[in-house]
């Protein structure tokens, strides 16, 4: 039989607490996301359909899909896309593999364990601008440490001009990215590895599995959710790469990523189109294209990774 008495103040409060308070508590995130995430995204979409050239206010307001059709035939855009993927592959793949190896080493019994574990995070806390400046000198043509180190192995007499062709500049930029993120990913992997029961390894060792086999057959499948997470994270980061390629250029403000766009990434191109060429509408169209590309690639990546690592979906 239902209770027909009037609800007391205290009951109402209780009900509010149980039913609505959780929503109130998580609301700030969604409010902030709406203001700083969703609104810019949608507004960007509107701008992408407009003529928005700062130095030519006479153009008609709406451009329709002009900006997007122009994108399809823009060789700068395809070059930047190619560069972005090249640098992305050169950074993400070695980065995650090395992080995995590093994590499994850190997962063993080591002397001064904490010291090592905190140590691998040091590159991550270094301000990105500072480390890039150092790398920029490291890869300099005339006085660079990289060329000095390569000296004994190098076949040619001339020093490598790291900023003169695609492959060398990609390697240089990817090195900066890897240096910063390997330790960070290793710690994520390590955290996941800690939850794998020891006796699984012991059983495997008795069955004759070496460390390498243990890593691939036990560790990776068991930390698969974290692997997927890092792959998605590095995809997003890799496709938005900006600071490193920007500061690697000797004439950084021009945002051309080398005299022939050797290592110009999409994010750099967007910056250049928006703030150097002052065509905000076209830059917005590029941003939207990048957003869609990231969605697709992240999807493919997730699918691939879960497939490769044994599909525990």
């Amino acid at each position: 039989m239902p209770d027909t008495r009037r609800l007391t103040w205290r009951d109402r409060l209780y009900r509010f607490d149980m039913r609505y308070l959780p929503y109130l508590m998580i609301a700030p995130f969604f409010l902030l996301f709406a203001v700083f995430g969703l609104f810019p995204l949608l507004f960007n979409g509107v701008v992408a359909l407009r003529n928005y050239e700062l130095d030519d206010p006479t153009l008609p307001y709406w451009a329709g899909l002009d900006n997007f059709t122009r994108l399809a035939g823009d060789e700068d855009f395809w070059n930047a896309l190619y560069n972005t993927f090249g640098i992305f592959l050169l950074s993400s793949v070695p980065q995650l593999l090395l992080a995995l190896v590093l994590a499994s080493l850190l997962n063993r019994r080591l002397r001064a364990q904490t010291w090592w574990r905190v140590g691998v995070l040091l590159p991550y806390v270094t301000p990105i601008v500072a480390s890039t400046m150092v790398f920029s000198v490291f890869f300099s043509r005339d006085f660079g440490l990289a060329n000095w180190l390569l000296g004994p192995f190098g076949g040619g007499d001339a020093p490598i001009d790291w900023r003169a062709d695609k492959l060398h500049s990609w390697i240089a930029v990817a090195t900066m990215v890897n240096w910063k993120w390997i330790g960070y990913n290793a710690l994520l992997y390590l955290a996941a590895m800690q939850s794998i029961p020891r006796d699984v390894y012991e059983a495997a060792a008795i069955d004759g599995a070496g460390p390498w086999k243990q890593l691939w057959r036990i560790t990776v499948p068991m930390i698969q959710p974290v692997v997927v997470f890092t792959v998605v994270l590095s995809t997003i980061g890799g496709l938005q790469l900006f600071t490193e390629p920007m500061l690697f250029d000797l004439n950084a403000q021009a945002a051309t990523g080398g005299p022939n766009g050797e290592w110009q990434t999409i994010a750099q191109l967007i910056y250049k189109v928006g703030w150097k060429d002052l065509n905000l509408g076209y830059a917005a169209a590029m941003s939207w294209a990048l957003f869609l590309i990231i969605l697709v690639i992240a999807g493919i990546n997730t699918w691939l990774t879960s497939r490769l690592s044994g599909g525990r979906t």
Partner: protein, 427 residues
């Protein structure tokens, strides 16, 4: 139940703090302008490099106890881009923003975002300025003047007397000027220098291209905004490629760390010098005092650079800003800046003033800069800088850098330069 009370109270408290933080961050800061403290007004001036304003600021503040001046020097391109962003955003620009002639057309086409200085009585300055300088920031319909000129570039050639001596070249400035009446001769002198010392003569191909382009009648664009690569740009580009093939360039990228290092290490012996470059050399390589001198530039007069002061409409102290701006472009202040950092005023009457005409720059072996630069500035033909001048210049400079780093064959360079320039003109 008791627990839930405190729970609730805590949640409200957290929420309130959060909201306050958001509000505090998003709200327009009321103390930013410094208006609150006892009626003083803070005027922010944004510029790049060294405009020679430090001492003037102190003097102006002493004479106007209610005004504080905040000097904000940044990187050249970054300052212009920052101003552009603030204009789009609608707030945050400085009270007085400097712009360079390379960006004049860009900002002039947005003249509705700047205070029309003609409304403030700046019309009286028109007769005092070099006519082309006055026009550079005047809107197309001639009704809005967004800026008052500070300096003009002029052109000369700075050279290192100690390095010239070591190479067996003359060091006296007249004799050096006589060495290179034309750019062809200049490149030959460079080969002679490089042959004798094994060192490079010029800093970079782009710093040969820009001054030569500045000497031509027409730049990248004509006044109908059509790209004209076969005029001025072709001449400048051909000389540049010739110099690169002669092997006299140190291949440095200007305004970057290695370039600055080159001033002290003697990586190059000559450098095209507009008046404003003198301040840069002095600031970058103070240790080379007395080792520099200034000769004439091959091929006659030309201009490279020169700035304006504007007041964005966003300024909340337009009247005070204009008062300061007017004061800064008065002869007395302009002469002081010239003596301090070398920037040549854009008011020709001042060139006859003995304070300028007789001024010798001690850093540059007492070169008579008060004679050299005014002559250049008066003799030059103004060049129209198109709307897409900036991106076009960047693209062509990049082609030059590709020839320099060996990834582009010199014979293929011109076709590539035209292609890149066309791309920039459509951007």
């Amino acid at each position: 139940m008791r627990r839930s009370w405190s729970h609730w109270a805590r949640a409200v408290a957290v929420g309130a703090v959060g909201l306050t933080l958001v509000a505090a961050c998003s709200g327009r800061s009321t103390t930013g302008g410094g208006d609150a403290d006892g009626g003083t007004v803070t005027l922010k001036i944004n510029f790049w490099g060294d405009f020679g304003l430090q001492d003037l600021k102190t003097r102006y503040e002493a004479a106007h106890p209610d005004v504080r001046i905040q000097l904000n020097s940044g990187e050249y391109n970054a300052q212009h881009e920052d101003l552009q962003k603030k204009l789009v955003a609608g707030s945050g620009a400085a009270d007085i923003a400097a712009i360079d002639e390379g960006y004049a057309v860009q900002f002039r086409s947005q003249s509705d975002k700047f205070v029309n200085l003609l409304d403030k009585g700046a019309g009286s300055f028109e007769s005092k300025y070099l006519p082309w300088k006055w026009k550079q920031t005047l809107s197309a319909d001639g009704r809005t003047q967004i800026g008052l000129g500070t300096d003009v570039g002029g052109l000369a050639m700075c050279y290192r007397t100690d390095l010239f001596k070591a190479a067996g070249l003359p060091t006296d400035r007249d004799q050096v000027s006589a060495l290179w009446p034309t750019w062809d001769r200049f490149i030959e002198v460079g080969q002679q220098y490089t042959g004798a010392t094994g060192k490079k003569f010029i800093d970079s191909g782009t710093n040969l291209f820009n001054p030569i382009l500045g000497q031509q009648q027409a730049g990248f664009y004509d006044e109908q905004e059509q790209l004209r690569m076969d005029g001025g740009p072709k001449v400048a580009f051909d000389y540049t490629v010739k110099a690169l093939q002669a092997g006299i360039s140190a291949k440095l990228v200007s305004f970057q760390a290695d370039w600055d290092k080159g001033f002290t290490s003697g990586a190059f012996a000559v450098l095209a010098c507009p008046a404003w470059m003198l301040g840069h050399i002095k600031d970058t390589a103070p240790g080379t005092e007395g080792k520099w001198d200034i000769a004439a530039v091959p091929g006659g007069g030309g201009n490279w650079g020169g700035s304006f002061l504007t007041i964005p409409k966003q300024s909340r102290h337009v009247d005070e800003a204009y008062e300061l701006l007017e004061w800064l472009v008065q002869p007395e202040q302009q002469i002081e800046i010239f003596k301090k950092v070398g920037n040549l005023p854009s008011q020709p009457a001042l060139y006859a003033d003995p304070a300028i005409a007789e001024f010798k720059n001690p850093f540059f072996t007492d070169a008579p800069v008060g004679q050299i630069f005014p002559k250049m500035a008066q003799g030059l033909t103004p060049q129209y800088q198109g709307r897409k001048n900036g991106p076009t210049r960047v693209n062509v400079e990049n082609v030059i850098r590709r020839v320099e780093n060996g990834t582009l064959k010199p014979d293929a360079a011109w076709a590539e330069a035209v292609k890149e320039a066309e791309k920039a003109s459509r951007s």
